[in-house]
Structures are given as C-alpha cells and as structure tokens.
Symmetry: C2
Subunit: 200 residues, 2 copies
Amino acid sequence: MSLRHAVMAALLEGEASGYDLAKGFDASVANFWMATPQQLYRELDRMQAEGLVRARVVQQERRPNKRLFSLTEAGRGVLRDFTAAPPRPGAIRDELMVKVQSVDAGDAEAVRAAIEERMAWAQAKIARFERLRARMLDGRSEEEYLARAERVGPYLTLTRGLFFERENHRWGAWALAVLDRRSAAAGTPEEAPGPARVRP
Amino acid sequence: MSLRHAVMAALLEGEASGYDLAKGFDASVANFWMATPQQLYRELDRMQAEGLVRARVVQQERRPNKRLFSLTEAGRGVLRDFTAAPPRPGAIRDELMVKVQSVDAGDAEAVRAAIEERMAWAQAKIARFERLRARMLDGRSEEEYLARAERVGPYLTLTRGLFFERENHRWGAWALAVLDRRSAAAGTPEEAPGPARVRP
DNA sequence: CCCCCATATTCAACTTGTTGACTATGTGCT
DNA sequence: AGCACATAGTCAACAAGTTGAATATGGGGG
C-alpha cells in the first residue's frame, strides 16, 4: 500500500489538490509511480481520515471549489518511517516486453511499430526531463546545485528517469536493428529483398 | 489483464507446470512481469477454461502429481492478436524511488542502504543475465546467433534486462556519490568530518 | 530424530487498481 | 449557438494483485 507514500512524497513539494496530483503526478512522482485520479481521491480521503494529510477547502469564484491537501506532522512521521524501512523489490510490468518476447510467434511488424512508439515517447520524456532539469539548476552547475539545494531527492529521481529513458531509447534502436537484419536475411517473399522494410 | 499474455509468452518455451512458472518466471519473463504463485495458478485455471492452454497431468512417484500446461492453437492466436494490438503505456512502480524522492525529509542513511542493496541485486542480475546469454549464444557470436536462431524475442528482452540493470547500477553509484558529497559538506555534527560515512 | 527446504497445489480473505459514467461551471473556437 | 476542453471532483462495479495459511510428501543436514 505505498501509493500513499508516493502521494506524501509529492506533497513534500507543497499543497496540492487531488486534481493537481492527478496531473502533476505526471511531472514529478509519476516517473516511478503512476495512479489514476480515482485512486488519488480515494487515497487522499483515507489519508485524511487517518490524519496523514489535512485538507483546506479553497472557495473559488468561477471554478468548482477545491480541497488543498498538505502533509501533517503525523504524515511526515509516516514518511520518515517509510524511508527507514527496508524496501521490497519493485514490481515491474511492461507490456511491450511481453510483446517483444513473443515477437517470433506474433506480428513482427506491429511489434516493430510498438518499439518505435516507445522510442518516440522516451524521446519526449527525455526532452521534458531536460527542461525540468534546466529549471531546477536555474543557471547553476550541477555540483553547485547539489551542494546547496535544500532538497536533492527530486533531482536524483529525475536523473534516474533521464538515465532510464535514454537507455530505453538506445535499446529500442538496437532491437529495431536486430529485427531489420533478421527480416532482411529471412528473405521475406512478400516484400522486396534488398532495401526491404525501410520506412519513410 | 495481460498476466495471461505474459504466461503465454513463457509457454512459448515449452510445457510448464504452475510451479515451474512460479519459479521460472524469475529466469525469463520475470524481468518484465512478476506474479505470485497464486496468481499464476488462478490464471492458468481460467485460461484452461477458456481453451487458451491445455493441461496434461503427469503422475509422479515420489512427488505430488503435476499439471503441465502448454499453449493451444487458440492460445497462440490470442498471443498473436496481442502482439498486433497497440500497447498501452506501462505502469512503473518503484518503491525505492519514492524513498529517494523523500530522502531530504527522511532517513538518509536508510535510503543510502536501500540504494546499496538495489545495486547489489542489480549486480547479481547482471551476472545471471550474462550466464544466460552465454548459454543462449553457446559459442556463436551475437551476430551469428541473431541471424540463425529460430527465436530472437527472448534474446531481445534479456538484453533489455541487462541494459536496465547496468543503468540501475550506474545510477546507484552516482546517487550514492551525491549523497556522500552532501553529508560531507553539511558537516554532520554527530559524525566526524573528513573521512565521514566511509563504510567498510 | 527433527526441522527445514523443495516440490506442487489449493483456499479464503483482503487490499489495490481500473473503467466508465455523472455532476458542475467557465473559457475559447468556430 | 454549439462544441470541445480544462477545472474539480464523486460514485459504483469489477478486475487484478497480495497475504497467509493449509495439504501432502520426500530428501538432506545437523
């Protein structure tokens, strides 16, 4: 049950509404923990009931009212305890890899396309991470930033995301090359040999 | 609901019992899809009911009997369809990263230890992957293997696992260095400065 | 001899996560 | 005027994943 811990980690950045988290989960914590809006609202309600977060209703004029959540001292305590506990091995679940594993018994062209899609979105994430990184550094060198900033956690996780997506991209390029060499060598009869399967 | 697809991908290697999968999920498919034994048994029963797998009961003498599952033609069809379908973005969930994100408000020493643990187990996986890889290549060069082998999927996913764990390890080393520089610079009063926080 | 581990599976209860629809309101586009 | 989209949520139903224990047997180490 550590969605709640992810939520608390996100709330370290400051007050947020369920809606903010549902969006902003995409920007910071989402790189290693995803959740749907419903999941967040439900969890926030429970956490409030348990005193881990407090809600402040903000009246708005031309918008629906919102509840801004922030960490309570109890919440901070729980988060501290969580960081101190030994972590269980993380659960990985990647549909693309299931497809790649089955590529020889499946639709190779579709798997190719899926890898390309993944590469494109890895690239998009890399760009976003780099923008975020530039914003965090704000002119300073990494060394300077890491020495002086009051929090390094977000920078460490962001870097991890960056490393991860770059590796994703590199792997994708390699995998595509492998599949190409294979389909070229296999002499696919329906498709012209030679410059076969070159895409625009 | 794509545990079933992961199971089918695993069954491409041949017949397996629920128990085999529960263990062997660790060796091949487990790198990108984890499941508990209970989950597997339940899913296998359902899949059998739907005709995706067939079971063959093997009488054993000094062991409980076992059911060996294999893919049916219907199962192969479903797997083929699955590879052809556009993949949804995979859900990532990494407790360690939640801890790292919260490191500044938590127990830095424990987070350090968790990163070290992760690095150790990345290293162990790398070693296992490399043994597996050597076994697959069986003397041949990678190029030769990829050109001739009847299946490349398992090699592609194994490589992805290798890349991933190497990156994990590299990131961990970097993150530890960052945390060390910080705690050295912060002049932690309870611990001696200078060669502070050097571990055996 | 005893205990723990490996094989092989099943049951029950519980917690999480997913999907789709539904309520409101305001802004901008065409 | 009509529509899509962003804000800010709620509800219900279902699917999937987790935990803990129970069953049955044999082999190995101390």
